[in-house]
């Protein structure tokens, strides 16, 4: 069988220029796919990472059932103490850990009212799990755990016609069902870049919140943010091991917290592949054309082989092998170049005009780092290979119809 390989390899170089052109075409589409796919996956990472950094965090501990039905009494008891213990864990050294309490309320200014989400945050730890404390447009972030003050989203402030120094009235239901009401001065207005957040969020110091809503030492979420999303699986196991067994607390990763985020990337991924498949198909067709040419111009030679007793299957295998060589050569070069480019960009990052400015405005990085993994690098080339091999079947199968006499008389 090594002779078939040798014959196929030599046949490949009968028309050097054509072979190199075909190899280049395959290499080009391969580089393009490696570049586009690693970058696309990298952009999802950036998008997900950025979205999570704004408010949700990568992971949260909640009381079981709170995610499905966020009622004020579905609490984590002694939440700050639990968080404090977790912060002391060496494994969570680099991880931001912050406690939050949350409730719905009616927010009113002098002449307007809106339904809002009130968030009780730890002023000291919140900056480690959220960009909001860093994105104060006017005024300042919350001073300390017990301060009687509020920070709210820019759209909400606009809607309420309220500014720093004005007073904000909150009216809601406390944990025991009684009325929770307070008036707080606005000390800061933030603009997170996430419209929904800027329109409905009012942030208070956690202790103030607990007092207003009769929460005691309870809270609703412990939010986690690791420097890198890749650390999440390890973090998840660690936190799951550390949280108290009773009452039933659950560790929820971001996919559970915001399922829409994953779906968004999946939808984009699907649309992306429509384009990729179209591109690959176009290149495959042009390659198929040269395959067919190279077979047709050897009709007589194949006729001689048939006369000598070679089976059409064997000649078909020969032609198919030639294509496999061609494809592997192009894919090899393409993957090599693609790796160099993706590797370079994974160090220095990739950006396009405007991206950095747009993201930077909200305290987010504007550089896309291609996702370098076996899947992200080899997926494109694998699809290309599959297309080429299927295309290569066509000339190989056509040879089965070759008639020796006619073939020998072909010029």
């Amino acid at each position: 069988m090594d002779n078939l390989l040798r014959l196929a390899w030599r046949n490949l170089w009968r028309n050097k220029r054509r072979t190199w052109l075909t190899v280049s075409a395959i290499a080009f589409i391969t580089v393009l796919m490696v570049f586009l796919i690693t970058l696309q996956l990298g952009s999802y990472d950036l998008m997900i990472d950025s979205s999570l950094r704004i408010f949700t965090g990568q992971m949260q501990v909640q009381r079981e059932g709170y995610l499905e039905k966020p009622q004020i009494r579905t609490v984590i008891p002694e939440a700050q103490a639990v968080a404090q213990r977790l912060r002391a864990e060496p494994a969570l050294d680099q991880v931001g850990v912050a406690v939050r309490a949350q409730a719905f309320a009616l927010a009113s200014s002098a002449n307007r009212s809106f339904g809002v989400q009130v968030v009780g945050s730890e002023p000291e730890f919140e900056p480690k799990v959220s960009t909001i404390p860093h994105q104060i447009k006017t005024g300042r972030w919350l001073k300390d755990l017990h301060a009687q003050e509020a920070v709210l989203g820019s759209t909400l402030a606009q809607n309420l016609r309220i500014n720093v120094g004005d007073e904000l009235t909150l009216l809601g239901a406390a944990m025991d069902g009684s009325v929770a009401a307070t008036v707080l001065p606005v000390v800061g207005i933030f603009e997170s870049g996430m419209i929904d957040l800027d329109r409905v969020t009012v942030t208070l110091p956690l202790a103030t919140f607990q007092e207003i809503f009769g929460l005691g030492s309870n809270a609703h979420a412990i939010v986690f943010l690791a420097p890198d999303l890749k650390q999440l699986p390890a973090l998840y196991t660690e936190v799951e091991r550390q949280i108290p067994p009773t009452p039933s607390l659950v560790v929820l990763n971001w996919e559970r917290l915001i399922p829409g985020l994953k779906q968004l990337t999946q939808a984009d991924w699907t649309t992306g592949w429509f384009m990729y498949i179209a591109l690959i198909a176009v290149v495959t067709f042009s390659i198929l054309n040269t395959f067919i040419m190279s077979v047709l111009e050897r009709t007589r030679e194949f006729g001689i082989m048939l006369a000598l007793g070679a089976t059409p299957l064997r000649i078909g295998s020969l032609v198919f092998t030639e294509t496999v060589f061609l494809a592997l050569l192009g894919l090899g070069i393409g993957v090599g170049l693609g790796l160099v480019i993706a590797g370079f960009l994974s160090v220095y990052g990739f950006t396009y005009p405007g991206l950095k400015e747009l993201m930077g405005q909200y305290g987010l990085p504007g550089l896309i780092y291609p996702q370098l993994s076996a899947v992200s690098i080899l997926l494109g080339p694998a699809v290309i290979l599959a297309f080429i091999l299927v295309a290569a079947l066509y000339p190989a199968l056509r040879i089965r119809k070759l008639e020796a006499v006619e073939a020998i008389h072909a010029v």
């Binding site: 170089w13 007589r300 030679e301 001689i304 082989m305 006369a307 007793g309 059409p312 008639e403 020796a404």
Partner: protein, 230 residues
């Protein structure tokens, strides 16, 4: 009397193209005994190639029976024909017989390779036969680096190397000058006697016919003369 290598009985071949039908061969009856060295002669279009192709199982007769070594070629399936050609029949065509990317030796080895011989055996046999056709020293040249006569010698070596029952050569000298043609014919005669192989070749060259021991003349698809010339 030797057993017959080839027997043709009432062989007719009609080519149909659209509405036109060409009677390439009509009622051919022919017996070629083992070790024969027969020449099919006749003008262009007389049916020489058609007859050789039918005997070699490259094409099927419209009617009639053809046997090679007692096996009915006209009734065989394609795969059986491929096996028959591989093991029993050698072919030499007019020109461009060789696989261009293989050296002379590799071309000779090609058939043995299909037969599944070991690399060592192939090599030894190929070197031996190339010596017999006087190509020692040129084993590693590719066809493009050989003259027309040398190429035909390689083709003859390839046809003979696995000792088939029958070698069919369709105008093997047509592209050669007369001196080279004569040398090639001398080689074929040699092969016929040394290797006990039956030869059927075609030509319309008087000089080449003179080498044969039996001259079969075709005209318009019929045998018009069949004589031994001992």
């Amino acid at each position: 009397m030797e057993p017959n290598t080839v027997v043709c009985h009432q062989v007719t071949k009609v080519y149909r193209q659209n509405s036109v039908s060409v009677h390439a061969l009509t009622d051919i009856n022919l017996e070629i005994p083992k070790r024969d060295f027969a020449c099919l002669s006749g003008p262009s279009g007389s049916g020489k190639s058609t007859l050789l192709n039918l005997i070699g199982g490259l094409d099927k007769p419209t009617s009639g029976e053809i046997s090679v070594d007692g096996q009915r070629v006209d009734q065989m399936a394609k795969s059986e024909l491929a096996a028959l050609r591989l093991h029993k029949i050698g072919f030499v065509f007019q020109a461009y017989n060789l696989i261009p990317v293989l050296t002379a030796r590799e071309n000779v080895e090609f058939v043995m390779q299909l037969q599944g011989l070991s690399a060592g055996d192939r090599r030894d046999k190929a070197m031996q036969i190339l010596k017999e056709v006087d190509l020692t020293g040129l084993e590693n040249r590719r066809p493009a680096e050989l003259s027309g006569g040398q190429q035909q010698r390689v083709a003859v070596a390839r046809a003979i190397v696995s000792e088939p029952s029958l070698v069919l050569a369709d105008e093997p000298t047509a592209n050669l000058d007369s001196k080279t043609a004569q040398a090639l014919m001398e080689l074929l005669v040699h092969m016929n006697t040394d290797h006990n192989v039956t030869f059927i070749f075609s030509t319309h060259d008087k000089l080449v016919m003179d080498f044969s021991r039996r001259l079969i003349k075709l005209h318009d698809g019929k045998i018009v003369e069949d004589k031994r010339r001992e």
